[in-house]
């Protein structure tokens, strides 16, 4: 298993590099002279040239990228054009909030979506199953930001139960998690349900039943592990989508996370910060893909065996 993780970790490096390259390239083409933003009315040809030299902006694209990556490896995301403070500090202050929201949504999405999906997959013709199917269909179609607003309208404005903004208590995490997670919860639920339906029809389930395994163990010991594979894939794919959605959630609920920092920085034309936000989110997606792969390997003996550590 250890070998597997190490191998995947190494495989991640070129991907992260490539993503950084893509984002860096896009941001490189941002029109306009950044020294305009930084220097404001102190701008002059010489000052601009001097600053460009200082920031390394006078170098070739490849060299700039090389320097960026070099700094990145040392945990240095560069300096914000606007505040002149290290981008890394801002990310450090903001990113935990994003993680909390994503984690909250994740817990909601897995904790609610998977059990419901399993149950309605095992009993596909029950009323419960039908209702959850419809709820799932509606759920995947709900725009995060609209749901967020409706939740605020209902739970903060009308009922006054939960806070509508910020992220400073457990209560304030509930609505953002719901808003961000519902979409993906529905997705996870639908996937779990259909893979459960698929698995429950498999011959080996019949074999298990023919052995006299009781209904509960048929589901838990035989069906679940097999049914979870597509679900885990979907969950893994959703982490990326969750990180995209977090931009909206943070905007709706005024949460000071990376997503809002990204939007603010775009509005400020603060390229280093924009870049930093995008890179850290991409790294996050890459890491979560890795985690999914590991879980996958843990569940599926075929993959586990490939890396020898299966029995150990």
């Amino acid at each position: 298993m250890f070998k597997f993780v190490v191998k995947r970790l190494f495989a991640m490096i070129p991907i992260i590099l490539a993503v950084t390259f893509v984002v860096f390239t896009i941001m490189y083409f941002t029109p306009g002279d950044p020294t305009n933003v930084i220097l404001g009315n102190e701008w002059s040809e010489t000052a601009s040239a001097q600053l460009k030299a200082e920031l390394g902006l006078d170098q070739s694209f490849i060299m700039q990228f090389f320097h960026y990556v070099k700094n990145l490896v040392q945990g240095n995301f560069g300096m914000s054009y606007i505040t002149r403070a290290p981008v890394g500090d801002q990310l450090l202050a903001r990113f935990p909030n994003t993680l909390i929201v994503v984690a909250g949504a994740m817990v909601f999405c897995v904790g609610v979506g998977v059990p419901i999906g399993i149950y309605s997959g095992v009993k596909p013709y029950s009323l419960f199953s039908n209702v959850t199917m419809v709820a799932g269909l509606l759920g995947v179609s709900l725009p995060i930001f609209w749901l967020g607003l409706l939740l605020i309208l209902l739970f903060s404005v009308q009922l006054g139960w939960l806070p509508s903004s910020g992220l400073d208590s457990f209560a304030s995490l509930i609505l953002p998690s719901l808003a961000l997670g519902s979409n993906y919860m529905a997705n996870v639920m639908r996937t779990t349900r259909s893979s459960m339906l698929e698995v429950i029809r498999q011959d080996y389930i019949r074999t298990a039943k023919a052995k006299g395994v009781n209904e509960r163990n048929v589901v838990l010991k035989h069906a679940l592990q097999n049914a979870m594979m597509p679900t885990i894939t979907v969950i893994g794919m959703n982490i990326g989508a969750l990180l995209g959605g977090v931009v909206l959630t943070e905007t709706v609920f005024s949460i000071p996370g990376t997503g809002r920092l990204l939007v603010e920085s775009i509005n400020k034309r603060d390229t280093p910060t924009v870049l930093g936000c995008l890179v850290i989110m991409a790294v996050c997606v890459a890491i979560s893909n890795l985690v999914v792969d590991i879980i996958y390997a843990y569940i599926d003996p075929r993959i586990k065996a490939q890396y020898g550590g299966g029995k150990g």
Binding site: V23, I26, F145, L153, V157
Partner: protein
């Protein structure tokens, strides 16, 4: 083989025998039996008709754009059944005209993604091997960036306007389409009529366009339907955070953003545009699911 070919006057006719004539008909019948899918189709057609007929329903300049401050936030009435917004414009009129923007951008973005992603995917899937490996690794890199973020990055770099946004969304969907087309191509690649075409010496390009892509049509239609929904969602999401379609053009996301300050007392201002997004996405999802089930009955 030669003898077999002789029996048919043209190559086209030769291939015809491999395709079940009634496949389309059969699929359509299966689709019609799926009531939820038909509901989705019905709603979506309705939305398209409404979008197309928007000028007949409400005058763009007079009702969706023209600001009428004394009429602002007066509450729902017979004249303005969904209330008026913070500028005194009829919310319904703006929603109806907003549908046009959403659909146009949604379809163009997906068309772009399909064109670029499809080309890459088809090449990767058809040639396989190294080509496939290289193209798909590149696409994987893009998949590491959630599409909203990729779109945001592009919009951030090149500015917010309709074209940039369409391109941004289109590009952010490209890797997904390349995957869809690739796997579709890979499944049909091994099928006999393609082999047959290869055997009688068709060029690769000809095979890709005339045989492989035509037969990938089914899964692609499904994906197009679902991604148009995604595209519409992304447009309104970008507009909602102020990096999409700009005022005064009515778009559902920017209606939500500008109206939210008033939602405490005037719920329609956020409920109505959001409902429009929701119903559109829902109809496309129902339609997409239905099409998928109809095209591949095993996946029911």
């Amino acid at each position: 083989m030669d003898e077999t070919v002789k029996k048919y006057t043209t190559r086209k006719e030769f291939f015809k025998q491999y395709k079940k004539k009634s496949r389309l008909q059969e699929t359509w019948n299966r689709f019609l039996r799926n009531k939820t899918a038909v509901l989705g189709l019905f709603i979506f057609v309705f939305i398209m008709v409404v979008a197309a007929a928007a000028p007949l329903i409400a005058n763009y300049d007079d009702e969706a754009i023209k600001i009428n401050v004394p009429a602002r936030l007066k509450g729902p009435s017979a004249e303005h059944i969904f209330d008026t917004d913070e500028m005194g414009r009829d919310i319904l009129a703006r929603i109806v005209h907003g549908a046009q923007i959403s659909l146009v951008v949604g379809f163009s973005a997906v068309a772009l993604a399909l064109f670029i992603g499809g080309a890459f995917g088809a090449i990767a899937g058809y040639y396989g091997g190294k080509t496939d490996e290289i193209i798909m690794r590149c696409m994987d890199v893009f998949l590491c960036l959630p599409d909203v973020l990729l779109a945001l990055a592009i919009v951030a770099a090149f500015g917010t306007n309709l074209v940039n946004m369409t391109v941004a969304i289109g590009l952010s969907f490209t890797p997904k389409f390349s995957r869809v087309v690739r796997s579709a191509v890979m499944t049909v690649r091994g099928i006999e009529y393609v082999e047959a075409a290869r055997a009688i010496g068709s060029t690769n390009a000809h095979i890709i366009t005339n045989h492989v892509l035509i037969n990938c049509f089914g899964p692609i239609v499904v994906q197009v339907t679902l991604y148009v929904a995604s595209a519409i969602l992304t447009i309104s999401a970008l507009s909602f955070i102020g990096l999409g379609i700009q005022a005064p053009i009515p778009e559902w996301g920017n209606m939500l953003a500008s109206g939210r300050a008033y939602m405490r007392d005037h719920a329609y201002i956020v409920v109505a545009p959001g409902l429009a997004i929701f119903v559109t996405i829902l109809s496309l999802n129902l339609l997409g699911d239905g099409l998928r089930d109809a095209l591949d009955p095993r996946l029911k």
